[in-house]
Symmetry: C2
Subunit: 313 residues, 2 copies
């Protein structure tokens, strides 16, 4: 049985890669996660039969952005069916992507609900419904920030809220162009963002990671909009490496930078952000020493606004 | 016969890819250009039997940076041997890389010398000697700007003057680290710069094109140094796309940006710079529309100094 989630209005507007069942689904009590590292050329799902396997897949970047949240919710559901210790389940899943505090907080929230007597099915379904409604609300706000004629730069794969904002803007007759950096080394921009925008009929250009400032200087980019892996209450943003560079250039050219956030992390402090850093990224190195910091910290003075359900902060 | 050029002191210090005969050489009146697009994994030379073939190779990026100058000089020598109209030869070669005004001016200069009665051999040899001496002088000045403990960011393949500066600094006991962006789409950083630095025993790290600001924010980068495809007398620099983004970030973090220049173009004006733009860069596009501007224009206020033989301007 495929887990089916209600609230399909949002799903219908989303590009193919972001529809719920295209991110992850359950069949015969096995969790299948679509391997984003191989999109768009291959559509392959990674099978997970335990919480540990799901956590390993998240850690290995099988899915990213909003993907880990959906995977974690479905994995929680299966763990509950298997009668696992759910405190441990939540720990294992949360630690697979420490920067993703939305996932951690959502898991803690549904864990509390289950402890208070709600069924795991209803708690997980409630979380999915909550996020679908949230995507819808936030993208209404994002849509209003987009003007006819905008050239919008993004970074990495900005997922539901950005995609829905752009889609709604286009549906409202606004003519926009989106500039998509490849996002090395995993090429999320080339593999996920650009094909998703194209599938929605949005005019878009693939550029290398070093080109945003060039197009800003030329006046072709008028807005910079990204998702955020973490948003702090002092308006500091944590997002894919490269966002800092773009935000600095945007600031210089007077281009507003907006980050979408599902929820502001009110507890995290800038000093305590632990950024994941990896050693390298594979075969291109020819023996080189490589550095791979996953995320940038973008200080609040470079952030024009955070787009949340409460409005633009 | 391999064209042998005097002034070998500089050649001995250079990394393997930059030694004269490793850039291009003449054998049996055929010009062989090493295909930089395939380095470091394959060492392949492109054969050119006419001025047109040499110009096409330059246009197709078989060689870049300082490579086109050496190719153009050797090609001029062969054209003279074949009794071609040398005005036309200079036109054809110069228009293969319009941004490279050093190549154009050098060709015009030796053309005048030949018209005044010098042999093509002596004119070309004189140009090679001039540039070897120039690399030596400029890199002495570059070396003095490098301090013990520096973390130096570069961009693309900064060639002779940068490589010699770094080599001399290391030989003088200064401990330095170089951060090398891959430089998509042709990966000059990954394929040429990083292996060249490693071959000289310099500690270096390969990073993606989006990461420089990250390491600047962390305090690991203390200088930004690049070559320049064009330097104007108002201190505007034209260099590989991405240089603008890095220069903006360097400015924000108070990190000095120095560009090496063999000769300031006193005639070119900022308004009249025609930047080469290409449509795409190959197979990664999956059908995407791609933009590929080759060069950035870096305004003088972002340039701390231009390193020339006259000193730091």
């Amino acid at each position: 049985m495929t887990t089916s989630i209600s609230g399909r209005t949002v799903d219908a507007l989303l590009p193919p890669f972001l529809k719920h069942d295209a991110i992850a689904y359950i069949e015969n009590d096995i969790l299948y996660i679509r391997d984003r590292r191989r999109l768009p050329l291959e559509s392959v799902y990674v099978e997970c039969r335990s919480t540990e396997e799901a956590a390993r897949a998240i850690k290995a970047m099988v899915t990213q952005g909003g993907g880990p949240l959906e995977v974690a919710l479905l994995s929680f559901l299966l763990a509950s069916k298997r009668g696992e210790n759910l405190d441990r389940t939540v720990d294992v899943l949360s630690s697979a992507r420490p920067t993703n505090s939305t996932m951690r907080r959502t898991l803690s929230f549904i864990l509390e609900e289950v402890k208070e007597g709600k069924s795991a099915e209803r708690a997980v379904q409630g979380a999915f419904d909550y996020y679908d409604a949230l995507y819808d609300e936030i993208s209404d706000i994002g849509e209003r920030l987009i003007e006819d004629g905008d050239g919008i730069l993004t970074r990495c794969f900005p997922e539901h809220t950005f995609m829905l904002s752009v889609r709604k803007a286009a549906d409202n007759g606004k003519h926009i162009r989106v500039y998509v950096p490849e996002t090395r080394p995993y090429m999320q921009g080339a593999r996920l963002t650009e094909p998703s925008l194209r599938a929605m009929g949005i005019e878009c250009f693939l550029i290398t990671d070093a080109m945003p400032a060039h197009f800003m200087a030329e006046g072709r980019i008028t807005k910079f909009m990204t998702a955020s892996d973490l948003a702090l209450s002092d308006r500091t943003i944590v997002n894919k490496t490269g966002t800092l560079s773009d935000a600095i250039a945007a600031c210089r050219y007077g281009i507003p930078y907006y980050a979408f956030s599902l929820s502001i992390d009110k507890e995290a402090r800038r000093e305590s952000i632990v950024l994941e850093e990896r050693d390298g990224w594979g075969e291109e190195g020819f023996g080189a020493k490589m550095l791979y910091p996953l995320f940038d910290v973008i200080p609040s003075e470079l952030v024009t606004g955070i787009i949340t359900k409460e409005g633009v902060i």
